[in-house]
Subunit: 357 residues, 2 copies
């Protein structure tokens, strides 16, 4: 925001952003409510909203490209949002550069965010079934509350709803997003397969990371840049590296934070047998005797193993090394957009390293 | 076909159709192979192809509208298919009526069929997880062979792959298909919910049927009609009623056929506690004393129950009544397209009643 104004302007926009994110949540709710299924409404309403990182990226990119965007919101946010929403059914974004005349820029931004949030939510619903996760964002997961069957099907509902509205956007965006969802599922299949044994390859780890986490973040940034008429390749690169850093930080937090902070049990990756970066780095640095010990604990997954890994990470300074790798990805992300002068994106990237949940 | 030629012409086209269906299967395989994931290839190759009813509808509608379609295939099917395929990445169907100049009609038809078959396959993968089905089309289901996790994720891969290629088609088709997938998942959620208790309402039954089975068949017919520049509403109506008849026949076959013919265990709906048409019709015709007996057997789901239901269906002539209802839907389907003179669609509808698996 700093690129477009002083301190007050920045504060204004921060408040606006929170309101726009609220509009995104409302649009998701409206799209689901339009299915007129009390069963779907009941299950969907149990889901707690997340940090909406992908929406924040989309908005930050669109904001930087168009003064109209902010004006559009300040002018008459509620009336505008309502009006735009009622026009939604007939509106179509048909230019790769901009937006059609009957859709406001803000309205399109909100829809794009809602599409990505529904997709993200759908993927988490299926992830939680696969990981047999009981909690998500500090509340019981849908599979825990309503069973695997409902979690799988609600995921399918959210995906298809997202694709329905995605058809209003330019083909390049529809292709980017559907490709990302495909990568995401491919990453999950590989992840499940490699969870059987300890997987020590950094190359495999990064490939899964790129598929599972980075692809949708990269696609969100790319799609927003396409809408804004910016150089989408730069933003894709930014999003990809941000996504890689994001997941590495997540892998570290699983070890360093407690359950209350995480909103789910800690040392969860070990319990699920997931070979994340800290474990791979540690393993690579051990001698063959210690490697055997590592594997015995990795497969035991008990409280003794947790203690052993905590000590080993400490001795080898593994956490710091992981953080440095995450920082390198953040640097790559920042380099990708260095000529774009988007202070919000820069701020999102730098604060990623410091996040604690 | 009879509308366009005599006996020989019909036979020619029948052979052509089998070859085109083979092209559809090949296109699906190519799209999945392009993901370059050995894990996905391994699981996907274990799936046995189905009857491809939806593809047959799509082809029958496109054939009736354009002489070029048949010529296109006869001319040089393999070279053409290959050439068209290599152009695929850049081709885009951008007219609601016809097809863009750089894509052959046949090529688009094959892609539309492949999209629908991938979606159908994805929905069955998730259905089988939900129903805990061990077999599908006479072979072990993916969830039985590779576990629920892989079945869920492969379903997501196939869905997203289908949407990726759907973005090449006109918006009306993308909306129709994504809406159908949404209806399909909504129907499955309702179906799961109502499987807890016996569900005696015909209205609820037909709503679930329309969502679960009819929506994608209707959307296939509608999408093909949009591509062909025909009156898509008529074809939607045809597909919807055909789909309703199809599922009722399926519900009947679950009772009347043996495992070898079905490719899965019979009386399966009773075992899963599904309130299908035969059970609802029977229940509605019983007195209150017999209704209690019905419910006791319905919940017992044992071999005594199976015998009791077989006898009751026989006494009340339930199977014949269900077949008559299916015939009524077929009549509605035929009425919807009576002015369209499409002999293949008429033949598909009339033979639906006589199918035994």
């Amino acid at each position: 925001m700093a690129v477009r104004g002083g301190q007050n302007m920045g504060q204004d926009m921060k408040q606006d952003s929170a309101e726009i994110l609220e509009c995104v949540r409302r649009r998701c709710d409206e799209w689901i409510a339009s299915l007129k299924s009390p069963n779907i409404d009941k299950i969907y309403s149990s889901i707690k909203s997340g940090k909406m990182l992908r929406s924040k990226l989309i908005l930050a990119i669109l904001e930087s490209s168009s003064v109209d965007f902010a004006k559009d919101f300040r002018g008459d946010s509620k009336a505008n949002s309502k009006k735009a929403n009622s026009k939604k059914a007939n509106s179509k974004v048909d230019s790769a550069q901009g937006l059609s005349k009957d859709s406001s820029i803000l309205d399109c931004a909100i829809s794009l965010c809602a599409i990505i949030e529904l997709i993200q939510c759908a993927s988490l619903l299926h992830d939680d079934v696969i990981d047999e996760a009981h909690t998500r964002r500090g509340v019981p997961s849908v599979n825990a509350s309503f069973g695997d069957k409902n979690a799988i099907m609600l995921g399918d509902v959210l995906y298809s709803r997202a694709y329905f509205y995605l058809a209003d956007f330019p083909q390049a965006i529809a292709k980017s997003v559907s490709n990302a969802v495909c990568a995401l599922s491919r990453g999950e299949i590989d992840d499940v397969l490699y969870s059987r044994d300890f997987q020590p390859s950094l190359e495999v780890y990064y490939k899964i990371l790129e598929d599972k986490t980075a692809s949708l973040i990269a696609s969100s940034a790319e799609s927003s840049a396409i809408l804004a008429g910016l150089d989408s390749a730069k933003y894709y690169e930014y999003g990809k590296n941000l996504g890689l850093a994001f997941q590495i930080v997540d892998d570290v937090l699983d070890i360093t934070q407690d359950e209350a902070t995480l909103g789910k049990p800690n040392m969860n990756d070990l319990r699920e047998g997931k070979s994340t970066l800290p474990y791979i780095l540690l393993y690579c640095e051990l001698d063959s005797h210690k490697k055997e010990e590592f594997l015995a604990h990795f497969y035991a997954r008990d409280s003794v193993a947790i203690e052993w890994f905590r000590n080993a990470f400490c001795e080898q300074n593994t956490i710091q090394k992981c953080q440095n790798i995450a920082k390198d990805f953040i640097t790559k992300a920042l380099n990708a957009i260095q000529d774009e002068r988007n202070a919000t994106l820069e701020q999102i990237a730098t604060s990623m390293i410091e996040r604690s949940f």
